[in-house]
């Protein structure tokens, strides 16, 4: 009973802090809307060494020539030569390839006799900029080959590339940045706001008074976390609503698992916020640390803006430590590709591990500070 009174009194207080600071609250609620709208337009990316699969049932000199030309290009690395068409699909779903080149059988024969031969280009368009560029590069190479052969045989012949954008047929930029903005906003609200809210008590000296009260530190932190958790939920709903009804990005997979992924990520972000608050003493420091150590990596290393595949190895390794990367990956898979939940087992596992790690380190830090 007493515990319940403590909690309800304290949680009310936290909500009052937030509601009374109208300006900050407005920023928190409006920011996702503005970001969703802004991020869609300003971003271009360059692609190098994209992983490619080639399905080549003809296996003749013409297809070999094209394959060699593609492999020689700096844009592509041919990594897979699947024997069945079905395995191409699987390679996409597991995120192993960005582009697949599918030749028809008897490619050379058709090219020489009927003067036209078909080749299909499949691109993973969850990242539409990248997909568009990959397809354009590949089409250029095909066109160059066609030109050579026309001169060689002095006859009109044609290679007709048929292009398909997987998952995102209209090449909407929104498909890429919706998961990114979700990661960014949730990280910002949960980690930054929570750490600032806890450190504010330290800075004002109220923490001392609270610690001298019968309020247990665990309850105190729990009460701090509740309002920001609720705010994140509101923002999550705003983002999903905007993406479905305004940007036309559907939730192709299970909404339930998408929400579970968000809960997991929010938990990681909240525990990071608590961890930061156990380390720093001032609100400014809390803001700087959350800004530099959390926001920047989300923007730069999560694959939200720049493709991680092109970064130096060190940065690629570093990107594994960014929680948002795993969240964004699972949102892409669950929301946009509409894959069943077992495709995100790895991402869920990593996020859960991070949450447990951060919470245990915070508890340890908190105890050290008390004695």
């Amino acid at each position: 009973m007493e515990r319940k009174r403590q909690l309800s009194a304290f949680i009310k207080k936290e909500f009052r802090h937030i509601f009374r600071d109208r300006r900050s609250m407005l920023i928190l609620l409006v920011m996702p809307i503005i970001q969703i709208i802004l991020f869609g337009f300003a971003i271009t990316t360059e692609v190098k060494n994209a992983r490619v699969a080639v399905f080549d049932p003809s296996n003749d000199t013409a297809t070999q020539h094209i394959i060699n030309r593609i492999n020689a290009s700096e844009y592509f690395d041919i990594e897979y030569y699947p024997q069945q068409l079905e395995s191409v699909n699987q390679l996409f779903q597991e995120g192993n390839i960005r582009l697949a080149i599918l030749f028809t059988d008897h490619f050379e024969e058709r090219l020489r006799h009927t003067g036209d031969a078909a080749v299909q280009l499949l691109a993973d368009a969850t990242d539409p900029n990248q997909a568009g560029m990959l397809v354009a590069y590949a089409s250029n190479i095909l066109a160059a080959c066609q030109q050579e052969w026309m001169e060689e045989y002095a006859a009109p012949l044609q290679i007709v590339p048929e292009i398909r954008m997987l998952y995102n047929p209209q090449m909407k930029g929104a498909y890429n940045f919706v998961p990114g903005v979700m990661g960014l906003i949730l990280m910002l609200i949960c980690a930054m706001m929570t750490s600032i809210a806890i450190v504010r008590e330290k800075e004002m000296g109220t923490m001392e008074v609270l610690l001298a009260s019968p309020m247990r530190p665990g309850y105190l932190i729990f009460s701090k976390v509740v309002p920001y958790f609720s705010l994140s939920m509101v923002n999550l709903m705003t983002i999903l609503f905007l993406s479905v009804f305004v940007l036309g990005v559907p939730v192709s997979g299970s909404l339930f698992w998408l929400l579970i992924a968000s809960f997991l990520f929010i938990t990681v972000a909240l525990s990071l916020g608590i961890l930061i608050s156990t380390i720093v003493r001032t609100q400014v420091a809390a803001m700087l640390i959350s800004g530099m150590a959390l926001m920047m990596p989300v923007m730069l290393l999560s694959g939200m803006i720049f493709p991680v595949e092109n970064m130096p190895l060190l940065l690629q390794l570093l990107s594994h430590a960014v929680p948002a990367k795993w969240f964004i990956l699972s949102v892409k898979k669950l929301m946009i590709q509409g894959l069943p939940v077992h495709y995100v087992r790895k991402e869920f596992g990593i996020l859960a591990f991070m949450a447990i790690l951060f919470i245990s380190v915070s508890i340890k830090n908190f105890k050290v500070r008390l004695t």
Partner: protein, 244 residues
């Protein structure tokens, strides 16, 4: 009856002995002034008594509970107020009262009743719905003290409660302290203001982590052959080895 009993209480941080074997008792309803220069160990001693910090050696009982083994019990029986803290500025007067009463587990009906009678007594009833930041500093301090004793603690710890407050308000504040003591609440107060120390029933003078002198203002003045507590303070502080 003693509400605070401390024997050979010591706190070390590495090689540094912040509090060095202090022993004293405080009886119910007494106002004990805890004086000393900055860094003399006042705050560390007070933190140990409040259950915020564990002693390195020695023992102590506060409100009948052991400070090492039962700090959570102690926290229920004490009130705490510091100079740095005078309530949440962005909350209304009644919201602050409600919050702290809630933290100490007072039931909602009692809170409503006590809030009104407290605000009437202080003469701030009209400000019940005002934000704390709109109140003058002296009012905040008086309100903070009243909030700290709302749950009827056995002891209230005041850490430089009157910092930055004008002399008139300070006198009004001391009237509140006497009222509380009259009701049987033990008051443990640290202060910088030597004129204020004269109001205490007894004074402890801390130098370099030790209690150099302990007694009524009258006794201390005799012991140091000084005209005022201010002079007692300067004479005892002269023996200090530590810098700030």
């Amino acid at each position: 009856m003693n509400t605070i009993e401390v024997h050979d209480l010591t706190k070390k941080f590495g090689d540094f002995t912040a509090v060095d074997h202090i022993s004293f008792e405080v009886t119910q309803g007494e106002v004990l002034g805890f004086l000393g220069a900055n860094g003399a160990g006042k705050t560390t001693a007070m933190r140990m008594l409040c259950g915020l910090s564990k002693p390195t050696s020695g023992w102590g009982r506060v409100a009948g509970f052991d400070i090492t083994r039962e700090p959570e019990e102690i926290k229920k029986k004490i009130g705490y107020m510091s100079q740095k803290f005078s309530l949440y500025e962005d909350l209304k007067v009644w919201e602050n009262i409600r919050l702290f009463a809630g933290i100490y587990g007072v039931d909602p009906k009692t809170i409503a009743h006590k809030t009104d009678s407290m605000l009437h007594r202080l003469g701030f009833y009209a400000e019940k719905n005002a934000l704390v930041k709109s109140l003058p500093p002296g009012w905040k301090q008086k309100l903070a003290f009243s909030v700290a004793i709302l749950h009827e603690p056995k002891i209230v710890f005041l850490d430089e409660p009157t910092g930055g407050v004008d002399p008139v308000t300070r006198r009004q504040f001391w009237k509140l302290i006497y009222d509380a003591a009259q009701q049987g609440i033990t008051v443990f107060v640290t202060t910088h203001y030597m004129d204020e120390a004269e109001y205490c029933h007894r004074i402890s003078m801390m130098v370099d982590g030790r209690i150099e002198a302990l007694g009524t203002p009258q006794q201390l003045k005799q012991q140091f052959q000084a005209a005022s507590i201010d002079e007692v303070f300067r004479k005892s502080a002269r023996q200090a080895q530590r810098n700030e």
